[in-house]
């Protein structure tokens, strides 16, 4: 795996957070989350995001590797900025409410 690949997961990143699964998620749940995320970020549209998702899944699909990653993913020495989501331009879905509020604002 290339170190310089755009979508690589940082040592202190939790692959569960990338896939958006709970700490106690099982195989089925992880696979479902992976497929959902890939659907959301297909490689032709967002290559970097796709690679991160794939890497996260590769780690989580092996139960022992998954368990070890769960233990070692915490990095107390990591910059506090790294607590923020890794994607710089994160765009959260909010539902229509905040958008309509702008339209209705006088």
């Amino acid at each position: 795996m290339s170190r310089h690949r755009q979508g690589i997961i940082g040592a202190h990143e939790d692959p569960r957070e990338i896939l958006g699964v709970a700490t106690n998620a099982g195989d089925e749940e992880i696979r479902a989350a992976y497929l959902r995320k890939v659907k959301e970020n297909p490689p032709d549209r967002s290559a970097a995001a796709f690679e991160r998702i794939r890497d996260a899944y590769e780690i989580l699909r092996d139960p022992r590797r998954r368990a070890l990653t769960m233990l070692l993913s915490a990095d107390p020495e990591a910059p506090l900025v790294s607590l923020l989501p890794a994607q710089v331009s994160e765009r959260r879905f909010t539902g229509p409410g905040p958008w309509l509020a702008v339209l209705k604002e006088k």
Binding site: T23, A67, R92
Partner: protein
Amino acid sequence: MFRKHQQAKTPPPPASRRADPDVLISQGGEVRALLERGSTKSAVELAKQIHKRCGTPASEALVVEAYGARIRSLLEHSLTAEAKALLELVRERYSSARQSLAGIDIVVSSCEGSLDDLVRPLNDPALSKERRITIESAIKRRVTDISALAQCAALPADHPLRVGARALGEALVSVTSGPVTDGALLLPQISHRGPLAPWKQLVRAIAHFYRHEDVACERCLQCIEPDSVSARLVPAMRAMLVQRLDDGSLQGASIALVLQVGGNMEALRRALESLDAAFATKAQSKIIAAIQPAISACRIARPELVERLRQHVSIRAVKLNLPVKRVQAALGGPSIKDAYFWRLYARGIETSSEPLAPIACSLWEEFRRHAVAEGWFREEGLEAATLYLHMAELLQEIPREELHGAQRNFMESFPGYSFYYEDQPPAIRRVASKHTTSDFYYLFPDQLFARACALDPHREAFERWLDWARQESDGKAAERVAESWHRALPHDCRPLLYLMESAEKRGALNKATGFLEQAEKLDALNPEVRRAALRLLVAQAIRHLQQHKTHLAEQELAALEALPQALEADRPAFLAALRWTCSVIRGDTESASGHFTQVSRVLGGPAAAILTCGSVAEACGLKRDNFDLHLPRGVSHVDQADTLAAAVGRACALGDDMDVVFSIPTDWEGALLKELAHQPSRLEARQLRALGEAALRRDRRELAYAASAAGLVKGGDSEARFLLLRAQALPEWEFERRAACIAAAAELGRRRRDMTLVGEAVELKRGGSRRRMDFLDWLATADEDAFSMSTEQVSRVLKREKQSSRFPAYKPPPFRGPFAFDEHVFFNDEEAEEANDKATFEDIARLLLDRAEAAAKRKRRQKGRCQIPEQGDLF
């Protein structure tokens, strides 16, 4: 001042007081110019004056036009009531206004929120085009509630406006709630020229925005008409596209949208960077001052991260020994001591420059209990097993001789972590209260391995447990592990092979044979089983030859010859050497000569045969005087001076293959060194390695060094292996080079996934766990970070070692300072060497300072191993 301002804005009086149509036209132009500038109030005043003087229908039309613009202006400023009152007034006063201000009436209706009144005229088939355009324009400019339009009772359900509004409402929900397909954005119900066209562009812009297709998003934004309702979102969306919120152009709802969608990341990022910078200074006041702003920014932008941030700050503060109360005050209270906290704390201890394995294990135990309580994993789950293995691995880093002391000291002084739970919520305290501090299982690798293997019995875990147990002086521990392994994984032949080997070592050959038979039943084709069968028969034959029971050895040799694996590669030469030994014991010179010839033929020459036969005979307990006579006279290494290294390498590789130690005769060394120096490429890497390792066994470092030099010249995948050989061959005083070679070998091994080599490198760096680390080992292991190398560093080490083909000849004299030291201190300073070994005062001072620091560090390490953090340091 206000009056002055008003006066300034009042238009100048008309130039003429006559009802001259020309003048009216020219002054009407002034009114329209004012309207174009947006000065509607002034325009109305001027138009009124003109009409007062002229009193013609044209002047009235001018006044009504000005009033119309004024009413629209009031509507734009949300002064709907004022606009409506003015409209009524104008209608009453000017008869022509009723017709010309009909469109404004619609706009006023839409502003009052009476959507039904606005759209109802659309049901009229006779509706004029102008009025339709006015209504549609009003919809475009005023309707903010698309769902209200979709449900508008004034229009039939299948009216294109309602259908389109419904589709837009659903699309808006979709694009703002999650990713959508391109099909969802087609919206064929919406006409490009209809009143809802800006909404369609808006929906598409939002979809592109979430897909990070910023160019397409901007293109859609540009298509939104500036006076439409949808255009109100354009500034906010552009701010989100460029991720800037600091130009002050956005208002409340827009700011809220930007924060919710992108989070106020910049402010939070800056606050966190400031806090990181403060931590880097290690200055208490700076850190404390930076904590509170970071927490506040996080609470605004990312409230869900506040607790995580507090836990990270707590751990960082613990490591810097900051005052608890002040940090807690800045954090706004103690951090939650949940599984996340304990994991972070444990990682902090184990990754610190002075890892304290017992403390880290106790913290992992806290984590385990909280993780189970919080549902991270089951108590009997695979994750728990992985954790036990990890804890055992941490303890393995402590030299065995020190582990027992560390365990004892920890158990005597550990007060528990009750202090941490004082300010915690009941759910956290409940987990703590269930715990008893008397169970220190986590300090004992054997117990940890047993737990791990019970929860998740798999080969790797048992292998690690067995590796651990094999280092115990009592061989029974390893046997117990192998038996557990065999019980848990009865189809794995590895534990049986270990039990076989163990039985063989203590002379229980029948038992060993029994284990081998079991392994053969499981997997007779397994290369390890095949090899074990060969090795066991060889061991039995050697044992019988040691006892001079040649008739029994003959049986084993016959059995060996029946094994297909005994006929592979150079192994027939080994069997022939065994037969030669048998003949020697019997005193059968003729037979011995025949077997020697056979060995010589297989190995390609007499030198390899001499080494092989001699080494096998020594393994069988014969003295050199007893068998030397049976070696061919007049044949020696001198006859093969140019191929001696190849012969020795080949013979040594055979010895390694058969697990029999081959010893290179001392008087061959000079010729070997000469040949390795001049013809390094004649040997295979495997043979060079065997030669080097054989030399190391006899502590012939120069020969091993020459073998490593020849191996390094060959390059390729075996470079890592020869770097490791080089590390072992180097003189002790070359400890820095040695450490660099080990690190480079480990790094290369890691990259080539050769975990055996990595394991050997780690073991070599540790100095072997079976012996106490000496000063040189301590120097080599003092900087753990040096064990990791970049590609450039590895290349540099390789280049240097390849160029250093000559064995280091210089051994500097030991230095003794004015104070007594336990260890010898060696210089490795080129300047000092050049100074004819005379250390300057500065050298001595520097050396003493280094020594004092090293001693203090070692003392801290020793102390740390049996101490735990002070309660005052805890959060």
